[in-house]
Assembly symmetry: D2
Homo-oligomer: 337 residues x 4
């Protein structure tokens, strides 16, 4: 940490700052400029992490040098992590596609969707059994019944299941049905849930919060990893900006950022990221080109009667066409699909 | 709802749209312009709320006319709601001040803070026992021990207690100690927790999410009210924008917006809203002038050693000066403090 | 400036950094921690301002300590600046109100508006003769004819004129008619125009850009002041955020920020800041409570037929009521109106 | 346009609304629901464009159905526009790369940069002669001397020149040296300059404003096209969001949006879009995959001594490697480079 003294700080102000830091067993280095003095602070990171110096007389501001997360950081783990989801590898040479309806509605819908996406190349079936919805009057999902349908249909088509957990009470139940537990954008900083997922035996897919910084996102993953669960993958799903043409602004630079800062895999969700069917395919292609390890795409056999997010769902036909096209992009970045 | 047909929609497209709407027992009105036809949709609001028409051939877009929330809406409840917190009225003529440290640290700190803020005129003691923190390595709060200290000190100084609930598991426990349960910004759309709070006997203070729209915020309150708990107050605490000089951007226009759209009271938190000590007083004054019913302000006896948010905490002295000044502003808008 | 070396920087990397800095006649101070070394850089500010060190091998990042603006800074000019607009003082004890229609439409409209706002207490007449409009098909203003009307009507009612300049070519012409030249949000970083206004003899009102940081805004004012024109006032008019209920998000904390960082006066425009008529009055009150020196408010005799921004314009009646109410707020913060 | 009456509008309110609309030669269609009436407005678009109905008694809100731009719209011009820049085609099968230093500094720097980027495959040389800088104390560019160097070096290497115009006064001068005139983000809504560029004989590259919506951006292009200049290309260069890890948030979904709404070509600038050297290559790949027609990339022979934006400039080596890799991506989307 660096403490910047204000131009009119007194000698005594400076002495007090140094005294306080030294009393906490921290070392200091002073740089005295024409206008102000800067104090470099060195020592135990946990102590520094909790320092609050800006209230002291004469202090103008402080600058934090290091991020707090460790286990998610590439500094501490230079090689890419590959997560094994019961035989499906996420983070390696092969780009994995997760696809299916936004919400599980009934057996027929799910089977139709699964059949189509499996045939086109998807390995993981997505579908919400518990749906976080803005209004209490919107469809909230089928609950455990939805989980059962997901498991049954995934097994039928030899697929894995990813589905969202919205309450830490449900984790154990969900582990019976799902292969990957998804944390939704609204729960990215539901720290009690993150801590509980740290004890789960299942891989976690952590979606980025609507207005979460890259740093907050990585710190949220750190909550899971400090609990002991090392199988965390990120999922970029668009951030909230002033733009209203798209539902969210898909931040593909986050893919490059996560790859630089962390060893964990990253998934991209162009369906929520754009909210508009015609944009899903170009953004899926761009995600792979940017370095994403996996895609998550909404496909509904009959989007016009979907109970949620019909506007952004691909038809099985659209999806089939998209998949046929992704192989070339994958090849261009040295991967397969 | 209004369905806007695209300029190149066929007659058949239009017939299919009308047929679908009528099959759901909705009525339609057509406006035919030179370039496109617009379909007005009339009927049962719950059916309309779940309509997804944009996937149908020939549909360009749809426009929703009415918000989904009802119980929180001023349309359904024109008079201001006054919430009685065990004798302290929030939402009436008197502006109520909640004050205290960000986190409860120990008995001495809390007693010192409570003594000072009570003397200056605060009626409700604030303090976090469970702290949602960005990093797992930051101080997470004293837990139940903190709740006990809050209750003990509040009773000693004849104050009420407001404190944050971070997990729906804790609600029952917290009801034993607190008078108002606070939902933090990160949990504003933790819908399972909101539903559980709908069953609580305590008033709820619902902070606005970091990037929540006014509409999402009101819908979140609707989750609590549909559960049966009518004592909900809002708390504006700053939204996330591109500006970095302040910790958040305090949106005081949200006060006027909530007053227009809802009958529920609104609190303003200029401490988190700005994150900078010198800004707390001017923003507290502005909040009252804008029509806020209550203020929530961080006060720490020794901000320079606070375990969290020291940079934005007032000293007891600062707070005393601020309170002395607020009376005139309150009077100017026809209130007392 | 502080240069933070990366944990795996070599000794040679560090030597090269120091050598480069010293070759530019800058002094360095090293703080060596367990993981990384930090280099404090001291010396001529203009040289430091142009330093780009992040490309050098071993450098992780750099942190700038000081802002580049000087003339606008309160550090260099501790007392508040009061701007004299031909006898009307902005920045002193009296809160000045600027009011009038968004666009000048014709003599009758302007005279009706001026008569009403003058009677209610406004001292400065606002009105656009050149209108920056999103679409080329929108009304673009009356041009010089509008300027003439403004001057004629202002003189008739003994008022001053503020109006927007949209092109540096127009500055000389506008000086013949206006008392304050306004720079609109879209031109806040039209640096050629700012430089030209630095040579103007008229006071400048610099509106904040739609997504300008406080720092960029102050730097824009520095462009004007370095040209020799010391009479610059800021105008907060709302920033662009994700919220769509209001036209913009009025950032009243910017008032406190500008007061802390600069000696120049600040005006608040609650009309553009909210874009909604019922919000103008509460936000005008809040602006004064936050410390604003002046207000700018749109008033149109017949908002329902206004050629622009009718939705946010007050009627003369609304305005009269608002003004009657502002005196008490002004008094509460030690001012008059 | 649709006018939504409020639930408590009177019959008279409704009659007045209809009367006003009919007095302007507009036709109306009424849809009467249980709670409110909706008025569809049909007729001359220019009249509708200027309607302001929200001030009328009983009106709750209005909803605009159609965008105002026409010439830029794909509705009016379904085929892709290809812009011929003196033999280099932008918008066709071949992806064009523009590269060079942020600012022109001297002959040697520019020649070194041009030689490298030409060899790697760039066809257009970029470089700023007039630099819009946040602070008046930053390097402002070489002016006409810079233009001369650009022309000389481009001719030497058989390249075209793109450079930024910051003042409408300079347009004629710049036409003597440049092949494409760039409008920077800060001037995207400098409408006087846009109008003047509508009279230029040179193609225009219109960068997206820092917080411009897609709609505002297309309307800005409409300003140029209504002047008679049909050779307009867009350039996405990142928008301003709350994220600070990157300089801006590169919005690649804007590429798909522009392709959907307009027939004009779109360029992507991953250098300004990210502000971080390691992100330029992945974002350049992603831009092509998303459908971009061209790329603009900063390359500096010695980024560590660049007078501006060194942190985001590639070295000639980096650039060479990137270009070698882009061919495969281009092929995957049916293009060449």
């Amino acid at each position: 940490m660096i403490v910047v003294m204000s131009p009119n700080a007194t000698k005594e102000n400076l002495q007090n700052v140094v005294k306080k830091l030294e009393s906490m067993n921290l070392r200091t280095h002073l740089s005295t400029g024409d206008e102000r003095t800067i104090v470099g602070v060195i020592g135990d990171k946990k102590i520094i992490a909790n320092l609050e110096m800006e209230m002291m007389a004469g202090v103008e501001k402080t600058v934090r040098i290091t991020e707090k997360y460790k286990l998610v950081s590439r500094d501490f783990h230079p090689q890419d992590t590959i997560i094994d989801v019961d035989g499906v590898q996420i983070g390696g040479k092969e780009i994995i596609v997760m696809a299916g309806p936004c919400a599980v509605e009934n057996l027929e819908q799910l089977r139709e969707a699964a059949s189509a996406v499996k045939k086109a190349g998807a390995k993981i079936l997505r579908g919400g059994a518990y749906k976080p919805r803005t209004s209490p009057y919107d469809f909230q999902g089928l609950g455990e019944e939805g989980l059962k349908l997901l498991r049954q249909v995934a097994d039928e088509f030899d697929m894995k299941v990813v589905t969202e957990v919205v309450d830490r009470e449900d984790i154990q139940l969900m582990e019976n049905y799902a292969d990957i537990l998804q944390v939704g954008a609204r729960n990215m900083q539901n720290f009690q849930m993150l801590k509980a997922l740290g004890k789960s035996t299942k891989p976690i897919m952590l979606k980025r919060g609507l207005s979460a910084t890259i740093s907050e996102w990585l710190n949220a993953a750190e909550y899971i990893m400090t609990g002991g669960n090392e199988n965390v993958m990120f999922c970029e799903r668009g951030i909230r900006t002033y733009e209203t043409f798209t539902r969210n602004t898909l931040d593909l630079s986050a893919v490059a950022a996560v790859k630089e800062l962390s060893h964990l895999p990253i998934v991209v969700d162009p369906s929520h990221g754009t909210g508009r069917r015609p944009m899903v395919a170009p953004m899926a292609r761009a995600a792979i080109a940017a370095g994403a390890d996996a895609l998550m795409i909404e496909v509904h056999p009959h989007p016009e009667i979907a109970l949620s997010d019909g506007n952004q769902s691909l038809t099985p036909d659209d999806f089939q066409k998209l998949m046929a096209n992704l192989g070339e992009i994958a090849k261009a970045v040295g991967k397969t699909i």
